[in-house]
């Protein structure tokens, strides 16, 4: 079976800084895949390259057997490949429920759809997903009024509203109340298992990622350092050195 996402030999440089250097990796259909690496190792750059945020210098990116290296951000999003942002981006002046409603898939969007109100089923689904991330009591508040962690949850719910096939999560547990992390992990697993969304997750919290992912890629200095199941990565000397700064 072809993997849902294939990154082949992708290189991206900003001036003299080579953020991604010949990275090749595969995300098969189904599981939760992790992406780790020290700060500045090029994780977010790789995500940006995949979703078309900036052109890549070399290599190619394939989604469901189709090359997407040259497509633009909204086109890639409409194919069902979505990302959340490390800094969290929501629509601050809109209510939480509106944030959700506007996040429906935008695949077939003619003038008629653009100019029609939201059907009740959309609102229902939006409320259901807000309940799923625990934000239902706050559905009428404006997005900007939520705390950072709550905005993170809202962003996750918005992504689910879009019904993606593959979801790239950039540090989903950063800034979340530690008490909630276990339940959030459980939610992420359910998103993967019940909703059938393949997850590709950047995470700094080792406990979370080791528990979550079936397979982990590790970047360092823009290059792919190691890959393997969590147990192997945990004991990989190169990975430990990269994190602790050994030479």
């Amino acid at each position: 079976m072809t993997p849902i996402l294939e990154v082949q030999d992708v290189t991206k440089a900003f001036g003299g800084v080579i953020a991604n250097d010949g990275i090749t990796l595969k995300v098969p259909q189904g599981p939760i895949i992790g992406l780790i690496g020290p700060n500045g190792s090029g994780k977010t750059t790789l995500f940006n390259s995949i979703v078309g945020y900036h052109p890549i210098d070399r290599g190619s990116i394939w989604f469901e057997g189709r090359e997407i290296s040259r497509l633009r951000v909204p086109q890639i999003a409409r194919l069902g490949l979505l990302r959340t942002f490390q800094q969290t981006r929501i629509y601050g002046k809109m209510r939480c429920l509106e944030n959700m409603q506007i996040s429906v898939p935008h695949v077939h969007e003619g003038l008629r759809t653009m100019l029609s109100p939201y059907p009740p089923e959309v609102t229902e689904r939006a409320e259901g997903l807000l309940e799923f991330v625990g934000l239902y009591p706050k559905r009428h508040l404006r997005g900007g009024e939520l705390s950072f962690g709550q905005q993170k949850l809202l962003e996750l719910a918005m992504a689910l509203m879009n019904q993606p096939k593959l979801l790239l999560l950039d540090e989903p547990t950063a800034g979340i109340n530690p008490v909630l992390i276990n339940s959030l992990m459980e939610r992420l697993k359910r998103i993967n298992a019940d909703l059938g969304v393949t997850l590709f997750v950047i995470e700094h919290n080792m406990r979370v990622i080791m528990n979550l992912a079936q397979h982990i890629y590790c970047l360092a200095h823009g290059q792919l350092l190691a890959e393997g199941p969590p147990e192997e990565i945990q004991t990989d000397q190169q990975v430990i050195d990269a994190y602790l700064g050994a030479r």
Binding site: L82, F85, I90, Y91, M94, I102, H106, L115, P117
Partner: protein
């Protein structure tokens, strides 16, 4: 009283005042016609500037296109026999009623078509710019349109052109154009009210709040922006066509008044409160009324008084009148002040 009945009463009251006004104050018909036009200006500007976050200084282009197209159609469609009624000639023939309105209708239709075409063509290009770049570019488009108009012989170039005289006695046109602008402003208001309740409304709000996020979520941002721009162009072209006829004389200063109408539409929307439906209406009314008062009582200093007013507004009501009211009485505007919801802890309890 429920919100719905209260709204209905409010609309009925405004509608009644609007209908009776030209008979209650016959001397101010033209001023009141222009008031409705100002409301339309502020509403259409706010569609882009307030709801979508795209501050345009070039919306006046569509108004000018409306002015010129409607006048040219009148000239060429029904007055070809009578000659060219330009400012230089004296052939501004009085037309029979039927011809006048026929020409007016065809002119408005063509004005709308051309304005929409220009909006779509310009929009697909410059709506890709953001923030200040967009604002500057639209400013340039406005200036360029004026330059083209003043150099193009076909539309009278620098000496301008004359729209046909309204059939009937002097002052007869005021009543017709009053109701025209009243109806147009009302249609514009309700069209926007409806639009803001659809997917379109949320999409342009999303573009305002975070366009990168909107793109990352797959929203057809360019398509939505172009539609918004076209809606504004539609109403502005109609307003322009009528204004040219009301004014009878058109040149670049009348059709592309960037530093008056073009700036006022921005001011009125900001004064009333950007990104709200009623804000532009309130802002335009207050602005137009004070402006007329300043002209009457502070002649010679009217621009200074207007400038002071703007300073006061910006300093004391940075969110506009509606924004100020909303922060003063949030519960009146459906803002959730429910402390319980605000402070509710997030729980991810088992839902199965």
């Amino acid at each position: 009283m429920t919100d719905a009945t209260r709204n209905l009463l409010l609309y009925a009251l405004i509608g009644l005042i609007g209908l009776l006004a030209p008979y209650l104050a016959p001397a101010f018909r033209v001023q009141m016609a222009l008031l409705w036009m100002m409301i339309l200006f502020a509403l259409t500007w706010d569609l882009g500037g307030g709801q979508m976050g795209y501050n345009s200084f070039g919306n006046i282009v569509f108004f000018g296109i409306g002015c010129y197209v409607a006048a040219v159609v009148q000239r060429d469609l029904f007055f070809a026999v009578g000659g060219q009624p330009q400012a230089t000639g004296d052939l501004a023939t009085v037309s029979p009623l039927f011809n006048y309105f026929n020409g007016f209708a065809v002119g408005l239709a063509l004005a709308v078509i051309i304005a929409l075409a220009v909006a779509a063509a310009l929009g697909s290009g410059i709506l890709g710019l953001r923030g200040h770049y967009f604002a500057i570019c639209t400013l340039g488009v406005g200036v360029a349109a004026g330059e083209i108009a003043s150099g193009w012989d076909y539309i009278g170039a620098g000496s301008g052109m004359v729209a046909p005289i309204f059939p009937g006695g002097p002052g007869q046109n005021a009543i017709f154009f009053y109701y025209f602008f009243f109806a147009l402003a009302a249609i514009c208001f309700f069209t926007l009210k409806w639009l803001y309740g659809t997917r379109f409304g949320l999409a342009i709000n999303a573009i305002r709040d975070d366009e990168d996020k909107a793109e990352a979520m797959g929203i057809h941002t360019t398509r939505y922006k172009t539609v918004a721009w076209c809606v504004a162009a539609f109403f502005l072209a109609l307003a322009g066509g009528a204004f040219g006829h009301l004014n009878n004389f058109i040149d670049r200063e009348v059709a592309f008044p960037g530093i008056t109408f073009g700036v006022w539409m921005v001011l009125m929307a900001i004064l009333g409160g950007q990104g709200t439906l009623w804000g532009p209406v309130i802002g335009a009314t207050i602005f137009h009324a004070t402006q007329e008062l300043f002209w009457t009582y502070f002649i010679g200093w009217q621009r200074v008084a207007l400038g002071l007013l703007i300073v006061v507004i910006v300093v004391f009501f940075p969110l506009g009148i509606m924004g100020w009211l909303r922060s003063r009485w949030p519960e009146r505007f459906g803002e959730t002040v429910d402390l319980e919801a605000r402070t509710a802890p997030i729980s991810l309890r088992e839902t199965r």
